[in-house]
Symmetry: C2
Subunit: 415 residues, 2 copies
């Protein structure tokens, strides 16, 4: 079964919001064995919606549309879908109740545009939206399935998880898609390819290998399509185990989890505590870690210390060290790492201090200069990195580099 | 001039990476008066690339393609473009030099696949990629312009900024697109629409109004197309000023900047310092603030205190307060806010403590319960929020709510 996703909204085309819905939907569909053939983002324009929908329906069995279902005048998806199917509207009493309930809860007066949200094309099955006022709509047209969902991510996600996925699984017999992803660090894409070229050359046609490079890491992804789930998994696992032998020194994980989660899982198993001291990454590294549920069993906390004062008072960095070597130096990150590990009685610590930019560079320390230290109870290691002049990338690269250093130290300590 | 963007890569379709390139390119094109008609994400598949490119070239004058230019076997964009134009390959000596230089710098041996990156379709103009080994390629075909760029964001961005945008501006006379965005908080989309419906009803055809709701905020965007830049700006500004009168109590900003930047700019002007104490948001709020260059003149730092211990030692929360009321309580967030403002001699502080989930809820404090406090030198205000059960959304909503509370307090203090 092949699907396409259409996201509707000018805000995506002018780049005001990033379309995160499509990736999320793509993941969910893949997990139930539906491959996404194309994602199209288009404007809130009647003709564009009609022609894109027609093209998608021609290519795919399932089309999921998000966006354009709000109560305001710029949202025209529902009206356009009625035109596409050449049907009129019906009032959905369940939706009307939901709208009324939500407005009562917020003690807000019910406006005609809100009531109109309960009017849906005659031929649709309504998917009740517990989180908002725009319902999902399920259309069956000959052998094609077209589903329209609100663009607000948490409303869309709720409807996908509670309504769309269960209904699709019930209605269709789906093939299997097996993905296996390995995370590597410390080796470039082409060197990785060179190492595993013998395997890549003899891959069967139904198995694809992809390289996904990102900020000092490369993820290797095997994807296999077929009907026999167990055979497919065995086949993929066998190929993966051959690949793993060839790339062992660079392998961070053989499942598709980010490096900080690999570290959290390992430290949790070993009952270890982590503390962080951040300057130029400004909370980003702590955020990467704390986005994962259950991190509190490992993560003690982070001191985001921007100023000299805070580095001294929060992290016990000596005033002389700061004045003699500057905040971006081996000496300061090492004191930050020791300060935070001692103060919070952690087993491991990471510290980062650098010039994220775009300003603040000096001749001997240009923008992108970052010092990172990792420490265990007895040892502190520091390293200098020279990144570019983009603030966001410098922050992300610093955090990833710190995690790679920490992963290496843990690997050595528990070899 | 109308453009389309095609992003190539299975990783986007299976949802392993979010396509952020398209939004970025959309923004850049809009700023020079080119509107993006469609964004299509497709697989590394020859037929899909060919048919999508043909469809895009039919609809638009300019097509920008990203991705599929790596040295590995899954990347087939370059080969497919040569097929599309029915041309052979030429070796680009400049690219070969660049590849050699990069490999020398990294002290890595040059592989045949890397050398092959210097081979490009005969009919292309090479756009040198200073940040990587895959060059950009500029194709002119009858009256259409097709540009192929690497998918790695910082390589793509470099090529867009240094090569693509300047060349397009030189070669074409472009119309103007004026966007004006206003940020509101504390009012729902339909109430906002009700307040400004009189204006919306009489908007001229070349001006569009869009509502972009996101986590407790709604952005209102006016977009106007035309040829006379000054007249267009005047017209949009006039409409905006009428709208602003009607929504004054909810207006956070009349430019398209996020709320934390509004706060940073205001606090910088008033020479005020901000300190943060985070528990459940785990560094996310600090990261939101520190992603902005120059934040160090306002932002002192953040204590990301996950455990009771750290709340006591980093933020002077009293042990009894924690044991009597629990970490998620008015009392604790208020002590956190006072602790961090005093300790770091800030003028304002924000503190957050909650249950981000998905686990850790209790009957009287279910997942999604979040307490937030804001403080100035003399006053502390706290408020309880009840969000849902999604960790990521709870973190984001908590941070936004804290910023809205801080903005309100600043507005009152400096009314």
């Amino acid at each position: 079964m092949q699907a396409e996703i259409i996201t509707i909204g000018d805000e995506i085309l002018i780049g005001q919001v990033v379309d995160t819905n499509s990736a999320w939907i793509g993941q969910k569909l893949n997990h139930i064995g539906i491959s996404v053939k194309q994602i199209s983002s288009i404007s809130d324009d009647r003709n564009d919606i009609l022609s894109t929908l027609r093209a998608a329906v021609n290519r795919a069995d399932l089309v999921i549309i998000t966006g354009g279902l709000g109560p305001t005048k710029d949202d025209i998806t529902k009206k356009t879908l009625a035109d596409y199917f050449e049907v009129g509207f019906k009032r959905d009493e369940g939706t009307l109740e939901q709208v009324k309930t939500l407005f009562e809860r917020f003690k807000a007066p019910l406006l005609p545009v809100n009531i109109a949200q309960a009017d849906v094309p005659e031929n649709c099955l309504v998917l009740p939206n517990k989180n908002g006022t725009a319902p999902g709509m399920w259309f069956e047209d000959e052998d094609k399935l077209i589903i329209s969902l609100p663009g607000v991510p948490f409303e869309m996600k709720y409807l996908m998880e509670e309504e769309v996925i269960p209904r699709i699984q019930q209605q269709f017999k789906l093939p299997y898609i097996v993905h296996l992803t390995m995370l590597t660090a410390g080796i470039g894409e082409s060197f990785l390819a060179e190492k595993i070229s013998a395997i890549e050359d003899i891959l069967p046609k139904h198995i694809k290998l992809a390289y996904l490079p990102k900020l000092g890491q490369v993820r290797l992804r095997l994807s296999a399509h077929g009907t026999d789930k167990i055979a497919l998994e065995n086949e993929v696992n066998l190929i993966a185990s051959e690949i793993k032998k060839l790339i062992a020194p660079y392998l961070i994980s053989d499942t598709d989890i980010p490096i900080e989660k690999v570290i959290l899982d390992f430290m949790e198993k070993k009952n270890l505590k982590l503390a962080i001291a951040e300057s130029c990454t400004g909370g980003y590294l702590a955020h990467q870690i704390t986005q994962h549920p259950g991190c509190s069993s490992v993560f003690a906390g982070s001191a985001v210390a921007y100023s000299y004062d805070m580095k001294e008072s929060m992290l016990d960095v000596k005033h002389e060290t700061l004045t003699q070597h500057g905040a971006v130096s081996a000496e300061v990150v090492e004191e930050m790492a020791r300060g935070v590990i001692n103060r919070y009685q952690a087993d491991y610590s990471v510290s980062i201090s650098g010039i994220a930019g775009p300003d603040g560079g000096m001749p001997e320390k240009p923008v992108g200069t970052v010092w990172i230290a990792v420490a265990n109870k007895t040892k502190t290691l520091s390293r200098k990195f020279q990144f570019g002049n983009k603030r966001k990338e410098n922050i992300e690269r610093s955090a990833i580099s710190a995690l790679i250093m920490l992963h290496k130290l843990l690997k050595e300590d528990y070899a």
